[in-house]
Each structure stands twice: as structure tokens, then as C-alpha cells.
């Protein structure tokens, strides 16, 4: 081809794509879980659950790809990050256990449905919060010596990581509420619309707070965002965020059904791009770059061939599955 492509960078983008897919797709599942308790028992909750029952499993698979992909493409980062955030990852996994089985169990056991609904909400909340704290823990950096994690098992716990934890919970709640506006009807939809308003405002506050705090963590972040001429490019991120936020609230009040969700996705994409600007090319700030952590070229090529062929197919049939279950879900049978 004559073009010199750095496979490590390609893989960094593939992993970032998988993580982003996970964040937005399981984000709305988890968001519905976070908001679940505020929906009325019966038709409202059943609708909310039905809106994700056929797709949650596929959504969660992106988490396995994110983890498995990191393992395969950046083994060192996989080992270091997961050890550094050990209690968070365990909490997330256990939260996902409760969340995942609740989909089936609540229908199997009407007498204990309330219990499984709590498991669903709590599991979703814990998983979302743990993911957010993990994000903060990575941003603030972890102690690495001799290619291994060298800190304690609670090093991740700081005010900053708790802030990112709260931010992700609120952000997922926004995605969940916006998804429900699209998929449910009646009182549940009206309720989701109110929730989306609050969660939308909360998400913006959280984004602003995290953005304000991040540059103070390390000098490097400050330079990345504010040095000339880079600031001309990086300034586009907050600018676009403002525009998307404005559109979001307009569409939300205007009664649109699909637009709030799509704009919430755009908001997440911008936040994600911001994180990319802060981190790249580090995976663990200041200690491990993507090139330090990368698997050998043979591993990269072997996986890239498969990914290039299979990923479009995955996206196609995932899209098809969403298409099959398009539109409002309704409750049991026909009204």
C-alpha cells in the first residue's frame, strides 16, 4: 500500500471504539436500572424492562470485547489497570451479575419480583458507579514499577474518582431516560421525559466539574488542552458540547421521541473525545503508553484481520436485532 500504518494506534482506536460502544449501549441499560425504582410497579416497570430485554446481552458483550481486546492488544495495560482497580472491577462484576439475572428472574418469580427489581436497580447502580470511579482512577494515574502495579489496593479512592463515579451514574441515567422516551409510552414516557431533563442538567454539571478538575491533576493535561495552537482544536469540544446540550433541551421540550437519545449519544461522544485528548497516547497517564503496552506485531496483525472482517458483520446483525424490536415496546400483548 505504501502507507506506513502504526498498528498500535489502530488498535488503540479499535479498543476505544469498543469501550465507547459499551459505554453508550450498556449505558442506557444501566441507566434504566439506575432510574428503575422511580417507575411505578406494574406497567411502567414492565415496559422499561421490555425495552432492553432483547438487547442487553448483546450490549454487555462490548464490555467483554473491551476487556478481551485490551488483554489481547495491550496485555501490560490490562494487567496493570485491573490490578490497580481490583475492588472496583470486582464490585462492577458482582453488580452486573445481579443486574443480568434480574432480567429473567423477575418474570420467573412474581412473589419476589420486588426483590429482583431491587437487585436490578442496585446492581446497575454499583456497576455504573464502579465504572465511573475506575475512569477517575485511570485519569489520576496509578503507580507503576517494573511493569507492574506497585500501589495499594485502595489507592484509587480519591475525591476526584468519586466525582467521576457520580458523573458516570448521572450520565447513564440520562441515556436511560432518553432511551425510554423513545421506547415506552403513556405515563412512563412522560416520567422519562422529566427524568431526562434533570439527568441532562446533571450530566452537564458533571462534565463541567470533571473538565475543571482534570487539568489540575497533572501538568500534562493542562498543556494538552490550553497550549497554542492546540487550543484551537481542543476548544471545539466544549463548544460543540454547548451546542448539542442546547439542542437536547430544545428537542426534549418539543416532544421529540428519538432526538433526545441521539443527542445524548452525541454528548457522550464529545465527552469521550475529550477523554481521548487528555489521555492519548497514554493508557496509564505518565507511565504506560500504548506502545509500551502493545502486543507484538504478529498478535496485532492476526487480530486485525479477524476484526476487519468480523466487526462489520457484528454491526450488521446487531443493527438487525435492534430493527426487529424497533418502535414502542408496549406491555403484555396488545392493548
Amino acid at each position: 500500500m505504501g502507507i506506513n500504518v502504526d498498528l498500535t494506534v489502530v488498535w488503540a482506536f479499535i479498543i476505544a471504539f469498543a469501550v465507547f460502544m459499551y459505554v453508550v449501549m450498556d449505558g442506557f441499560d444501566l441507566g434504566i436500572g439506575i432510574l428503575f425504582a422511580s417507575f411505578k410497579v406494574g406497567e411502567e416497570r414492565d415496559q422499561a424492562m421490555n425495552s432492553i430485554a432483547p438487547v442487553w446481552d448483546g450490549n454487555e458483550t462490548w464490555l467483554v470485547l473491551g476487556g478481551g481486546g485490551l488483554f489481547a492488544a495491550f496485555p501490560l495495560a490490562y494487567g496493570v489497570v485491573l490490578t490497580a482497580t481490583y475492588p472496583l472491577i470486582i464490585a462492577m462484576l458482582l453488580g452486573l451479575v445481579f443486574r443480568g439475572v434480574a432480567f429473567e428472574f423477575r418474570w420467573r418469580d412474581p412473589r419476589h419480583r420486588a426483590l429482583w427489581d431491587i437487585a436490578f436497580s442496585l446492581g446497575s447502580f454499583i456497576a455504573a458507579f464502579a465504572q465511573g470511579v475506575t475512569l477517575g482512577a485511570i485519569l489520576q494515574g496509578v503507580q507503576v514499577e517494573n511493569q507492574a502495579y506497585a500501589g495499594g489496593w485502595l489507592d484509587w479512592l480519591t475525591p476526584f474518582s468519586l466525582l467521576t463515579g457520580a458523573g458516570v451514574v448521572i450520565g447513564y441515567a440520562l441515556l436511560g431516560a432518553a432511551w425510554l422516551i423513545w421506547k415506552v409510552e403513556g405515563s412512563a414516557e412522560a416520567h422519562a421525559r422529566r427524568l431526562a431533563l434533570w439527568a441532562g442538567a446533571g450530566t452537564l454539571v458533571a462534565m463541567a466539574a470533571v473538565s475543571a478538575a482534570t487539568p489540575f491533576l497533572q501538568f500534562e493535561y493542562w498543556k494538552r488542552w490550553f497550549d497554542m495552537p492546540g487550543v484551537l482544536a481542543t476548544a471545539q469540544v466544549p463548544l460543540l458540547t454547548g451546542i448539542v446540550a442546547f439542542l437536547f433541551f430544545r428537542k426534549l421540550r418539543g416532544g421529540a421521541t428519538a432526538a433526545p437519545f441521539l443527542l445524548a449519544l452525541a454528548l457522550f461522544a464529545l465527552g469521550f473525545a475529550g477523554l481521548g485528548i487528555s489521555l492519548f497516547p497514554y493508557i496509564v497517564p505518565d507511565s504506560i503508553t500504548i506502545w509500551d503496552a502493545a502486543a507484538p506485531e504478529r498478535s496485532q496483525i492476526f487480530m486485525l484481520v479477524g476484526t476487519a472482517i468480523i466487526m462489520p458483520v457484528i454491526l450488521a446483525y446487531t443493527g438487525w436485532a435492534y430493527w426487529v424490536f424497533r418502535g414502542k415496546v408496549g406491555t403484555h400483548g396488545y392493548h
Partner: protein
């Protein structure tokens, strides 16, 4: 109060615990997905509603088992990093890509089509729905392919190079890594085990309902199909297991020595020890019941062939004998019990009493969970038999674990134990509850089927009779 060894031991217990729990679900869902595919295919081919009823009966059970398999499987995909980060960093370049391929080619396939399989029959039509069922079944098989390739590579590593800093790097050909020497045997043996496990569950449910009502046509159909599987596949499995054992003898002789209980070498024909109590301290089998020279006959096809024992292996490279000795006997014993039940059912079938012999049905109920016990026992045999290595012959388990503090591992282990018993206990209870109800005509679909969609002319509602 804790030192480094404790963290290592706790990490091993945690991995063993979570993977044993996890393994139960795929062992069931690999077989059940194929069974569902067969049922739906027969329904489409013959048009007989009994197959559709059975499909709907088992698909509800499948949904629960599959959900538990998914959530316990996600735990596994992260445990490599959380508890075995040194192993992950060093072996990641070789086994990481295989696991990535598992996600790409299997997990997405299963998850993507599962929703349609469970809830989509009235939306996509019979043909596409059957295609979705086939994709889910194919996904379970592909998943087994990759993960067993990874496991086999850890048992019989080939096709790699060592880097100066001690990492495993892929060699010239990935085929040498994927199709490592023990992989074909392990794949065949494990997938057949999954089919047998499912067959005995299906057979037990059929038998349970036959004991209550001999005329139940759905129970008869289930029982008959399951007993065909037992009669035909159990002998194949014993043969496949024997081949796998010979392969292990070639590549991991210490494991076979532990399985056989051969502490000592036998230069002129080794005995087959049927039972006994392994005595690790004295390095002998107490109270052994043995058949002279039979082990040499089985393993070398020669009564007088010499067989080396664990006395040829350095003490610190020996696997722990008692665990392997017992788990191997449990697995083999169940295998032969399965064969026995299969033969018994053939006799009953020839005499046209398959649905009448209540002792046969009782035995089938008793054997219902036997497949799970056998696969766990087999797994313990092969994994404990790999010790003290993670990558056999190249990387010690003691050098593989994460630099974690023991309290962190202990706390997470306790959390896993509590959550798994509570959650999967509840799930097992719900599955048993569903199995307890007989399958009948007009079996309902999973109740939380989201029926209505915009943009599709509502097809006639398929009866969604609530339970």
C-alpha cells in the same frame, strides 16, 4: 498475618470457584442450544406441534441458564487481569488474540441472535427465527472452540517463542498455537460431554414426568430422544476420553501418573488401580484394589510395557495426587454409569417398554445431574493435573499471580461465594421449578415477550397464555 503465599492460594481458590460455577452453565447451554435447534428443525420439517411445544418448554429454561452463563462468564474474562496479571502480561500476546476471537466470533453471535430466538418468533417469521436459533447454537460451539484452544495451549504450549524479558510471543504460524497437540482431543471430549450433560438433564425431566403420567406424549418424546443420545454418545465419549488420555500420556505424563496413582515406576507392566486411598506423605496408595498390568495394557496396549511413575518427577514439579486420583475416578465412574443407562434404555426400547419401566425412569432421574458432576470432575482432573504450572513446563502458577494484598483477594472471594450461591441458587431453583411442570400442548412463549412494534402489521397474536 497474611503473607504472599496466602494471596496466591486465595487467588487460586477464587479462580477455581468462579470457573467451576461458570462451567456448569456452558456445559448445559452448549448442548441445550443444539437440542433446541434440532427441535425447531424437526418442527419445521414435520409440522408436528409437539416439537414446537418442546422447543418452547426448553427455551424458557435455556434463557435462565444462558443469562447465568453470561454474567458468570464476564467475571472470567476479567479475572485474568485482576488476579493473574503477571500471567496475562506474559502470555497475553499468545492467548489474548484467541480470546478476542472468541468474543468476536462467538459471544456477539450468541448475544446478537438470542433476543430474536427468545422473543422474536412472531416478528421475523419461522425461517429467520430458525436461522437465529442456529446462530445461537453455532455461537456456543465456536465459543467452546476458542476457549478450549486457549486452555489446551496452556496444557500443551506450542508455536511460540520466548522473549528476553520472559514473555510468550507468537511464532511464525498461528495454526501451531491454535491447533496445539491436546486441542483436538480436548475439544471433542468436552463438546461431547456438554451434549451428554444436556441429554441426561432432558432425560431426567422426561423420566420425572413419565413417573407421574406414563401417557404424557411430551415426556415420552423427551425421554426417547435423550435415551438415544445416551445409548449412542456415551460409548463414543468413553472412546474419545481414552484417546484424550493417551494424548495426555504423551504430553503431560505426570498428570496421567497422578490419575493412575502411580507413585512408583513399573518397569515390567503397571497395575490398574481401581480404588485406594492416596497417601501423599508416604507416596503410596493405601488399600489399593488393582488389576495387575492392566494400566500398561490400556495406556501402552502391551501387558508388560514399562510405565514411569512420579518417582521420576522432581517433588516440586508434581501435581497434587489425591485430588486428581479421585476426580478422575468420579468422572470415569459416571461415564460408565451413563453407558449403563443407555444400554438399559436400549433393552427397554427393544422390548417396547421404554415408557413403562419405572425403575429405568427412576434411574434416569437420579442420573439427571450426573453430567455436571462429570464435567467438573474432568475439569479438576485436567487443571489440577497441570499444576504446578499455568503454562505447562514454562510458567509456574506461583509466578503468575497479581501483586495483590491478601485481604483484597480474601474479601472478593467471600463476596463471590455469597453472591454466587445466592444468585445461582435462585436460578437453579427457578429452573427446577420450570422442569417440575410438565410440557404440554400449546406451550407458552417466554412471557415477557415484547409483542407490539410500530411499523409491522400486527400478525395474529400467537397465544401468549400467561402462566
Amino acid at each position: 498475618m497474611f503473607d504472599g503465599l496466602d494471596a496466591l492460594l486465595l487467588a487460586r481458590i477464587q479462580f477455581g470457584f468462579t470457573v467451576s460455577f461458570h462451567f456448569i452453565f456452558p456445559a448445559f447451554s452448549i448442548g441445550l442450544a443444539s437440542y433446541l435447534m434440532v427441535l425447531e428443525g424437526l418442527w419445521l420439517k414435520t409440522g408436528r406441534d409437539i416439537y414446537l411445544d418442546l422447543f418452547r418448554y426448553w427455551v424458557k429454561i435455556f434463557a435462565i441458564a444462558f443469562a447465568m452463563g453470561v454474567v458468570s462468564g464476564i467475571v472470567m474474562s476479567y479475572q485474568f487481569g485482576t488476579n493473574w496479571s503477571v500471567f496475562s502480561t506474559k502470555a497475553g500476546p499468545v492467548i489474548g488474540p484467541l480470546m478476542a476471537y472468541e468474543v468476536l466470533t462467538a459471544f456477539f453471535l450468541e448475544a446478537g441472535f438470542l433476543g430474536v430466538m427468545l422473543f422474536g418468533m412472531s416478528k421475523v417469521g419461522k425461517g429467520l427465527h430458525f436461522a437465529a436459533t442456529c446462530m445461537v447454537a453455532l455461537g456456543t460451539f465456536i465459543s467452546a472452540f476458542w476457549i478450549l484452544s486457549v486452555n489446551s495451549w496452556m496444557q500443551t504450549p506450542t508455536g511460540f517463542e520466548m522473549s528476553p524479558d520472559g514473555r510468550f510471543l507468537p511464532g511464525e504460524s498461528w495454526l501451531a498455537i491454535i491447533f496445539n497437540p491436546s486441542f483436538p482431543y480436548r475439544l471433542v471430549h468436552t463438546v461431547i460431554a456438554a451434549y451428554l450433560t444436556t441429554a441426561f438433564v432432558v432425560g431426567a425431566v422426561g423420566a420425572w414426568h413419565l413417573l407421574r403420567d406414563r401417557a404424557n406424549l411430551h415426556a415420552r418424546k423427551m425421554f426417547s430422544m435423550a435415551m438415544w443420545m445416551a445409548a449412542i454418545v456415551a460409548p463414543i465419549q468413553i472412546f474419545a476420553g481414552d484417546m484424550h488420555g493417551l494424548n495426555t500420556l504423551e504430553h503431560q505424563p505426570a498428570k496421567v501418573m497422578a490419575m493412575e496413582g502411580h507413585y512408583e515406576s513399573h518397569p515390567d507392566g503397571a497395575p490398574l488401580i481401581l480404588f485406594g486411598i492416596p497417601n501423599s506423605a508416604e507416596k503410596r496408595i493405601d488399600y489399593a484394589v488393582e488389576v495387575p498390568k492392566a494400566s500398561s495394557l490400556i495406556l501402552k496396549h502391551d501387558l508388560n510395557a514399562p510405565l514411569a511413575g512420579l518417582d521420576t518427577i522432581p517433588d516440586d514439579r508434581e501435581p497434587p495426587v489425591p485430588v486428581i486420583f479421585w476426580s478422575f475416578r468420579v468422572m470415569v465412574g459416571i461415564g460408565f454409569a451413563m453407558l449403563g443407562l443407555g444400554l438399559w434404555s436400549l433393552v427397554a426400547r427393544m422390548r417396547k417398554r421404554l415408557y413403562d419401566w419405572s425403575w429405568l425412569h427412576r434411574a434416569a432421574v437420579l442420573m439427571g445431574p450426573s453430567g455436571f458432576v462429570a464435567v467438573i470432575a474432568g475439569w479438576i482432573t485436567t487443571e489440577v493435573g497441570r499444576q504446578p504450572y499455568t503454562v505447562y513446563g514454562h510458567m509456574l502458577t506461583a509466578q503468575s499471580a497479581s501483586p495483590l494484598a491478601a485481604p483484597a483477594v480474601a474479601a472478593s472471594l467471600i463476596a463471590f461465594v455469597i453472591v454466587y450461591f445466592a444468585v445461582f441458587g435462585a436460578g437453579a431453583w427457578y429452573i427446577l421449578h420450570l422442569m417440575h411442570k410438565p410440557a404440554g400442548p400449546h406451550e407458552s412463549e417466554p412471557e415477557h415477550m415484547p409483542v407490539r412494534t410500530a411499523g409491522i402489521t400486527p400478525a395474529p397474536a400467537i397465544a401468549t397464555g400467561a402462566e
